[in-house]
């Protein structure tokens, strides 16, 4: 298939395809991080993850509207404030949901699946009632549009670079919080042995609530960032949920490194295959590979040894 193209063309396409893979990787990590914390650390199957993302997207949309109406001169920077607000809004909703719903279900993990699925339907309808059934268009500041012109044939999308940077930032922060901070040690202690953690004086309920809130907050930031590359509507969250679970389950629950490794392998496989065949065929083959590997290794790529 490459016979007709010059070496230069092919070279730049390979470079750009590499970028496409990296962008897909960042997107996967970003959308899976929040779920990896909630599912991995707490064992809660949060089917409403996508809706928490979309809450972040709607917060971004509202922020952009407020800036346009009242502070048009500062519009270029609204996105940073929007992401912080998205984190706060989704995180707060997450903590509320944990308090009302999830904490009663920790001993019944399969029921959380049903409860959070119901929650996702309720949130979707709530968005529809509040924001309308139609998708909303989030306007971006001028500097975030378009691409960086590297050479004549290599162009790197700015929003892709932005997502990559954001992913690195958030991953590093999450890793720091979970593995180096005092609070992170408490979280891991609760994951490994809830009863013993309680016995040594850790307030396990509080840890649970903040962990769930953190996971949802990160989902909100992801949703905010995805307004650059995707749609914002009441049901847009559903677009991400399958891929998100795929990444988290394949990586092995309870492992941050596993999530990253799994996002990397899935995104690279998919983006390479997509280049050589049709998009939907590439997806089928990727899923087949994931299913095959999970059959041989049900615990996922990386598994944490937990005392049962």
């Amino acid at each position: 298939m490459f016979g007709d193209y010059s070496i230069g063309d092919l070279g730049s396409i390979f470079v750009m395809q590499g970028f496409a893979g990296l962008i897909l990787f960042s997107v996967y990590v970003l959308m899976a991080l929040g779920l990896a914390i909630i599912f991995g650390q707490m064992g809660v199957i949060n089917m409403a993850h996508g809706e928490f993302m979309i809450l972040g997207a709607y917060v971004t949309w509202m922020t952009s509207n407020v800036f346009q109406a009242y502070m048009p001169s500062l519009f270029g920077g609204y996105f940073f404030l929007a992401m912080i607000l998205a984190f706060v809004a989704s995180g707060a909703l997450g903590m509320l949901v944990e308090w009302v719903l999830i904490r009663h279900l920790y001993k019944r993990p399969l029921d959380t699946l049903l409860a959070t699925w119901g929650l996702s339907l309720m949130l979707q309808q709530a968005y529809r009632s509040v924001f309308g059934a139609r998708e909303v268009g989030v306007e971006l500041p001028q500097w975030m549009l378009g691409s960086l012109h590297v050479t004549d044939s290599i162009e790197v999308p700015i929003n892709g670079v932005f997502v990559m940077g954001l992913t690195v930032l958030i991953t590093v922060s999450v890793a720091y919080v979970l593995y180096l901070s005092r609070w992170g040690r408490q979280v891991r202690a609760v994951v490994q042995n809830r009863i013993m953690a309680g016995a040594v004086g850790i307030n396990t309920e509080k840890v649970d609530r903040y962990t769930f809130g953190l996971g949802c907050g990160i989902a909100g930031v992801a949703g905010s960032a995805f307004t650059m590359i995707g749609s914002t509507g009441p049901t847009s969250g559903q677009l991400y949920i399958v891929d998100t679970f795929l990444v988290v389950v394949f990586g092995g629950a309870a492992s941050l490194l596993g999530t990253i490794a799994s996002a990397f392998s899935i995104s690279q496989t998919q983006s390479t295959l997509e280049f050589f065949m049709s998009g939907s065929m590439a997806k089928v083959l990727t899923l087949l590979a994931v299913v095959g590997i999970l059959m041989l290794r049900p615990q996922g790529l990386f598994a944490l040894k937990v005392r049962k």
Binding site: G137, G146, I229, E274
Partner: protein, 419 residues
């Protein structure tokens, strides 16, 4: 219980009295002809439909909840506007239209269930409804079994025809061929790259487009790609587009994927002012979500644009905005949905009856001169004769009309040589 029975016995008499009393001031003050001439219910309704001396009931069946609510909301709004306007103008055969709205909830079995409810329990005279082909396919056996009348608004893949359905949108050849001809001539396009969502409508449409490009235009399709519904990552296919450098990108990507596709196309540095792109799946409704700045310059092939400059449309757009808000936009399908109640009214008046069999038989040849798209006429195959138009997307989310066919294009749901 006995009260109920008494009421039942008395009611015909009481109704006549009330009508008589009501009629006195009306007749004396506003001598309007319509009521006096309204034909007797027994004459215009021989099959037990929900028709009284003053009212006729129709059903509206769309998704007000679920994924498809994004698209179907506009259709619901248009149908309600049409019904209100028809009532203001005196109704149908002297009867006001009353509607019962059911929610298909983006779920195809629910559509079938609700259609059955509307036809069997409510005995509606017609149903304005469905949007996706999947919902229409689910409802079709129901309207055929219970002999209902469905007015279906969406442009679709064709390959269907029913006595019980009037298709007010375009079938595939009506939508695609004229647009391809235009872009081939105007831009000298020889190579085409197809990209669509992976389900029946894009696949059938692209099949027809490919045959046309290869056999009629003598061009070449340099790529044909499908992405699962809901895909949000298009960077790989955009790279392929950059590699193959097609003269035209031809797209039928739908739903949330649409937004992702145009945003990423723009981010990848593909300038739609220089790279012609022809879409058959983006209307003003979709641009709301995509954002005008991401799609400006793209060509869309439709039969209606909100910006059309004709007297009908100049009355229609303000009326729609007055009813549904200044910010609402009107896409191709919304306009097609608006045609449904009007075509039904005109057909009923032509047939002189609400009976479904008579309406089905009277439909061919019914013309609607007040259509916002200009003028439409029902063909023998129950699709509409209508023009094909090409518009270019502008920054403000509206289309600028670039080209329209000189004559109405004949609907051809089973195109020979294209299958």
């Amino acid at each position: 219980m006995s009260d109920e029975a008494n009421k039942g016995l008395l009611s015909p008499l009481r109704r006549k009295l009330l009508m008589g009393m009501a009629a006195v001031p009306v007749v004396t003050m506003l001598p309007r002809a319509s009521f006096a001439q309204a034909p007797a219910t027994s004459a215009v309704n021989t099959t037990g439909l929900a028709v009284t001396d003053t009212e006729v009931t129709v059903g509206i069946l769309h998704s007000a909840t679920g994924t498809m609510a994004i698209s179907e909301t506009g259709s619901i709004e248009a149908e309600k506007l049409a019904i209100e306007q028809i009532n203001a103008a005196g109704g149908v055969l002297g009867r006001k239209i009353k509607f019962i709205q059911e929610d298909g909830a983006s779920d195809w079995p629910t559509f079938a269930e609700k259609a059955k409810k509307l036809l069997v329990n409510d005995k509606v005279a017609a149903i304005m409804g469905c949007w996706t082909s999947a919902s229409r396919k689910a409802v079709l056996p129901v309207v055929e079994q219970y002999n209902g009348m469905l007015y279906y608004p969406t442009f679709y893949e064709g390959l269907e025809q029913s006595k019980n359905v009037i298709y007010t949108g375009q079938e595939a050849t009506q939508q695609i061929l004229a647009g391809l001809n235009w872009i081939a001539k105007e831009k000298g396009a020889k190579t085409f790259f197809f990209i669509g969502s992976d389900y029946i409508w894009p696949r059938t449409s692209n099949k027809i487009a490919r045959k046309h490009v290869e056999n009629v235009l003598k061009g070449k399709v340099v790529g044909e790609e499908y992405y699962a519904l809901g895909s949000t990552q298009f960077n790989s296919v955009i790279n392929k587009i950059k590699l193959t450098k097609p003269d035209v990108i031809f797209t039928d990507v739908v739903g949330g994927s649409n937004v992702a596709f145009y945003k990423q196309l723009k981010a990848a540095g593909i300038d739609l002012a220089k790279q012609p792109l022809l879409t058959i799946s983006v209307t003003e409704d979709e641009i709301d979500g995509i954002g005008g700045e991401n799609i400006a310059g793209a060509y869309a092939c439709m039969k209606y644009f909100q910006s059309l400059d004709n007297p009908n449309n100049k009355a229609f757009v303000p009326a729609f905005k007055k009813m549904w808000g200044e910010k609402t936009v009107i896409g191709d399908v919304t306009q097609a949905a608006y045609l449904g109640p009007w075509l039904w009214k005109l057909t009923v008046e032509k047939a002189g009856s609400f009976d479904v069999d008579k309406i089905a038989a009277a439909s061919p040849g019914v013309e609607f001169k007040g259509a916002p798209e200009g003028y439409v006429r029902i063909h023998e195959n129950h699709h509409l004769w209508s023009k094909t138009r090409v518009g270019r997307a502008k920054l403000d989310g509206q289309f600028e009309l670039i080209y329209e066919t000189a004559d109405l294009v004949e609907p051809d749901p089973f195109p020979k040589g294209y299958q």
